[in-house]
């Protein structure tokens, strides 16, 4: 690919700062308040700050990523310790106020795209450690673009109303009837982990629908699946070890972390210790199963027949006949929760655009599903999706070609994209 001017790429190898190096480089014992800094470094991984506060090609923590919310695009802020454009001039009180109340340094409301409704649960001590770590990273002078929100949402004060209606949480209080591990998991998931920010469905105001914790959600044309104990669409068939494995390595016997979860693995899960990953898994496994709606009738026979043929041609080379896949490599497709989500957007997005999975030092291979937008028509993608959603133990509503067409347009894949290597050589 061409060499573009890229401030994050080092002129010299030894000056490289990558998100992984930031989150994992050892903090020497001699550093003042080393213990607190190490804690803060770890919590920056737990909170997955880098995934939102880093734009493509930008420095970690400098912000500028455009989050496409249903209300418009909101750009993440610069949380590097630059005094003019970042949080370098902040106090720990101001940082805690942002985390706990969603209030910025000048008293302005922050949009809940910054997940303070969850970060509210974080203890003062943890917030201070996180703040100390952020202050110790290299300052980057960068101003994010202005948010693109329609009137009146551009006026931050509207968030006060949102907070009144929807801000219910507070600092985490342990449940004494549960184990220490469960409580740690609850603190992580409901706090810095902010899993529900994606994995709980939202109402028209962008707040959690009540009583539907972890039932799944949609963001940026991906689906964050059901994380409850539902055996068909949730984690019901996954063990605690499976969940920990997925978060740590981005791949387990059942699935591979593609789409938006790839970054979560790379910059968060893979940097966390086993005890915490198990705690998260323990907490999630305790979530009551999402109730199943009455399942749709049998899928269209024609779609199944055509889908089987397309599967043999296009999918079986990796996922193998009978969908058995190669575990920890090409996910097996039988009894697969990802495939059976009510909202098929994630599956269709994957087939149309492909995805790399999350990587880490422990599991560095950037395994990927290729894009099929150029090869399969809307009808073909609909048919093969219907087929796999209803084969090998799976049961889910069939897909209509119009849904594929709609998503193809949203993803800007109506015309084939040429890479450097795809056309005739110049």
């Amino acid at each position: 690919m061409g060499q573009t001017a890229n401030p994050a790429l080092p002129a010299h190898p030894s000056t490289a700062i990558t998100p992984t190096s930031l989150l994992s480089q050892p903090i020497p014992d001699a550093t003042p308040n080393a213990v607190q800094l190490r804690r803060g470094q770890y919590l920056a991984a737990v909170g997955d700050c880098v995934s939102c506060h880093m734009r493509p090609g930008g420095e970690p923590l400098a912000g500028g990523l455009g989050l496409k919310t249903p209300f418009g695009t909101i750009y993440s802020s610069n949380i590097s310790p630059d005094r003019d454009t970042g949080i370098g001039a902040w106090s720990s009180d101001q940082f805690y106020r942002a985390m706990h109340d969603g209030i910025g340094a000048h008293g302005e409301n922050l949009y809940p795209a910054f997940p303070y409704p969850w970060f509210r649960r974080v203890t003062r001590e943890d917030a201070d450690a996180l703040f100390a770590f952020l202050q110790s990273t290299p300052p980057v002078h960068y101003v994010a673009p202005a948010n693109e929100l329609p009137f009146p949402l551009g006026i931050r004060a509207v968030v006060k109303g949102w907070n009144l209606l929807f801000l219910k949480s507070d600092t985490y209080q342990p449940d004494t009837s549960k184990s220490a591990e469960w409580n740690r998991g609850a603190y992580l998931v409901q706090g810095l982990g902010h899993c529900a920010a994606c994995h709980t469905p939202k109402n028209m105001f962008g707040a959690d629908k009540s009583g539907q914790d972890f039932h799944g959600g949609q963001l940026d044309n991906w689906v964050a699946p059901d994380l409850t104990a539902n055996a068909r669409t949730g984690l019901g068939l996954w063990s605690v070890d499976d969940i920990a494995d997925y978060l740590r390595a981005g791949r387990n016997m059942h699935a591979a972390a593609g789409g938006s979860m790839a970054d979560v693995v790379s910059y968060s899960g893979s940097q966390m210790n086993d005890a915490d990953l198990h705690a998260i898994a323990t907490f999630l496994k305790s979530q009551p199963a999402r109730p199943d709606e009455a399942l749709a009738g049998p899928p269209d026979a024609g779609a199944m027949r055509r889908g089987a043929a397309i599967y043999s041609d296009a999918c079986a080379s990796c996922h193998l006949e009978n969908g058995v896949g190669q575990p920890r490599f090409f996910p097996p497709l039988g009894h697969d929760a990802m495939l059976q989500q009510d909202d098929p957007t994630g599956l269709l997005h994957l087939i149309l655009a492909g995805s790399h999975i999350g990587v880490s030092n422990a599991a560095p291979s950037p395994l990927a599903m290729p894009s099929f937008a150029w090869k399969l028509s809307d009808a073909e993608i609909a048919d093969v999706s219907t087929y796999i959603r209803n084969s090998w133990g799976n049961q889910a509503p069939g897909i209509d070609a119009s849904k594929v067409a709609e998503l193809r347009k949203k993803l800007d894949l109506t015309r084939p994209r040429l890479t450097v290597n795809s056309g005739d050589r110049k």
Binding site: H12, P13, L320, P364, A368
Partner: protein
């Protein structure tokens, strides 16, 4: 005027197998490393996804993954009485380009040379007399390194790639089912052999009946999922039959992409710059030390990259060319026999036998790059050459790499090359025929060498490399002899008929044979007859290392990659153990 960049510890020129392995070793030792590759970045799911990777027209015929000869090529001739002309279309060998290069488009055939191959001169001279190694203009030389010294490096490459096979000699003990002639192995292969399809199985049975010792070809195509010591994962091969000339979309062929890059690209002390071509190595005025390299990017801008060490891993042909262009070492003159750079260029002597059956369906489309049953009974010095008039040999492989429609439709002797009769023969024989490959050694001769062409230049204005090469009498005799043995095995399979495709006449650049070019930057025990020492370090400029098969003094009867990689590990380990602590010559001349 080239812009100067901040200095680095090591600059690596070319980023295929040797560049990736050396970069990984040096980065793990803590060096700041920059690698430069003239071709593009290549990623499995983007550039060779299974949905289109098996496009024979694009990759085999139109050479999509290979070097663009309109930018740069070489001139070729058989001997000095001819004018060398540019090779305007890839044929005999298919030069790679891009990240991973040959490691992306190879078949995945992973071999070790025989212990006696490393002493080809002294071993054969002792057994058959001096004339056997120097008669007939032969310039066979010993390597200056032994198989035993290289064994742990061979093992490292096997573990990197997850090579699939069955050991024949394990910690001194012969093992049934493996190659009884091979050098000793310290561990079993990391993965079991691939499942052999019908044709290789029948070949093995026929070979056994004739008293030979068949074994499964070692493969870099995975027989099962594998995770290597760097944590890189490979999937199980699906026997799709589109291996050589193609990228693998299943992550199941060993390549830098599948085995090294997932680990290496994450290292903060490593930088890779693609579409940057190195023009020359820069030297101090006394020409005893390299100061770095000059390269040009895709916008035509020139840069000088200062470096403490320069590693040439740009393939044998570009390596030799860069040595010549940069004035490192004395160029070889075939008339006088003086000089070393360009000397002892060699190749691979290939032939084959096709077998056609009426009573068997062989399904040749079920294939993989190294899917074969092999006999090594006629390779190296595994058999008595007394009275035969040649040294060296070949392995004979009942091989099914695929049944691709453009390249691999075999028709019996006498079938026209086109027309209705050809169509009938092709249809009748497609499912019921296959090829037995004879993969032969190529000794070095005085007149086979590389130098700079006096007339033709590339797009940067640099003289092209000139290749002067022909098969010698030794090669023809060897090839005829082993081809006859292969024909005997073919007949023992009871086919309807066979067709023998000998290697005849002069080397021609037109038909594809192999991309196993060797020599020109040969290793040896003395600077008087070699370019690099056993650690691939230049005798003349101790901070320049020239990796790859350019180091082979002559070529053995095996695919070079395993030995190329082993030499790279061997060199890297010595660089880290000794050179970094005390830079200078690693071997006293």
């Amino acid at each position: 005027m080239a812009s100067q960049l901040p200095p680095v510890d090591a600059v690596i020129v070319g980023f295929g197998w040797t560049g990736a392995i050396m970069a990984q070793q040096l980065c793990d030792a803590g060096l700041n490393v920059v690698a430069l590759e003239r071709g593009p970045w290549r990623d499995t799911a983007t550039d060779f996804a299974t949905g289109f990777a098996q496009d024979e027209l694009r990759y085999m015929w139109r050479h999509h993954l290979f070097q663009n000869v309109s930018y740069d090529t070489l001139t070729v001739r058989n001997n000095t009485s001819q004018d060398a002309l540019p090779m305007r279309h890839l044929g005999s060998f298919l030069l790679g380009t891009g990240v991973g290069s040959g490691g992306v488009h190879w078949n995945g055939q992973i071999w070790r040379f025989l212990p006696s191959d490393f002493n080809a001169r002294s071993h054969n001279a002792q057994r058959y007399g001096e004339d056997a190694v120097s008669g007939d203009d032969l310039t066979v030389q010993d390597w200056g390194v032994s198989y035993d010294e290289l064994e742990s490096s061979y093992d490292a490459f096997d573990k990197l790639c997850g090579t699939c096979g069955k050991a024949g000699k394990l910690n001194g003990k012969p093992q049934p089912g493996g190659n009884p002639f091979e050098g000793n192995r310290s561990s079993e292969y990391p993965n079991p052999p691939m499942a052999q399809t019908l044709a290789p199985t029948l070949f093995g049975e026929a070979a056994t009946r004739l008293g030979y010792h068949p074994f499964p070809h070692p493969t870099g195509n995975m027989s099962q999922p594998y995770t290597n010591p760097l944590g890189a994962q490979m999937g199980a091969c699906t026997y799709c039959g589109f291996c050589e000339k193609f990228g693998c979309g299943n992550y199941s062929k060993a390549s830098p992409q599948t085995t090294v890059l997932p680990y290496l690209m994450r290292k903060p002390n490593f930088v890779l710059k693609t579409e940057c071509e190195v023009l020359r190595v820069e030297l101090t005025p006394d020409r005893k030390r390299a100061t770095g390299i000059t390269y040009v990017n895709s916008a035509g801008e020139e840069f000088f990259q200062p470096a403490e060490m320069v590693v040439l891993s740009a393939y044998v042909l570009q390596n030799v060319r860069l040595l010549l262009l940069s004035g490192i070492g004395k160029p070889y003159d075939p008339k006088t026999g003086e000089g070393v750079v360009g000397k002892n260029y060699a190749y691979q002597t290939m032939s084959s036998v096709n077998a056609f059956f009426d009573d068997k369906i062989l399904n040749p489309f079920i294939g993989a790059g190294a899917l074969a049953t092999v006999i090594d009974d006629f390779n190296g010095d595994n058999f008595d050459h007394s009275g035969l008039g040649f040294i060296g040999g070949a392995y004979i492989a009942g091989m099914v790499t695929g049944g691709r429609p453009i390249e691999m439709i075999y028709t019996p002797q006498g079938t026209p090359d086109w027309g209705l009769q050809w169509k009938h023969a092709a249809a009748k024989n497609y499912l019921r025929s296959f090829a037995i490959s004879v993969h032969g050694s190529c000794m070095s001769h005085r007149g086979n060498y590389l130098d700079l062409d006096p007339t033709y230049r590339d797009i940067h204005g640099r003289p092209m490399l000139r290749m002067t090469f022909d098969f010698g009498a030794n090669e023809h005799r060897m090839s005829d002899y082993v081809t006859d043995r292969a024909a005997e095995v073919a007949r023992a399979m009871n086919p309807r008929e066979i067709k023998i495709n000998r290697r005849t006449g002069s080397w021609s650049v037109t038909p594809y044979q192999t991309t196993h070019n060797t020599g020109g930057a040969i290793m040896g025990e003395s600077p008087s007859n070699s370019v690099v020492n056993k650690y691939l370090q230049s005798w003349d400029v101790p901070n320049v290392f020239s990796l790859g098969a350019g180091a082979f003094p002559q070529n053995a009867g095996y695919n070079p990659t395993g030995t190329v990689a082993a030499l790279t590990y061997f060199s890297a380990r010595e660089i880290i153990a000794r050179y970094l602590k005390s830079p200078g010559p690693l071997v006293q001349a």
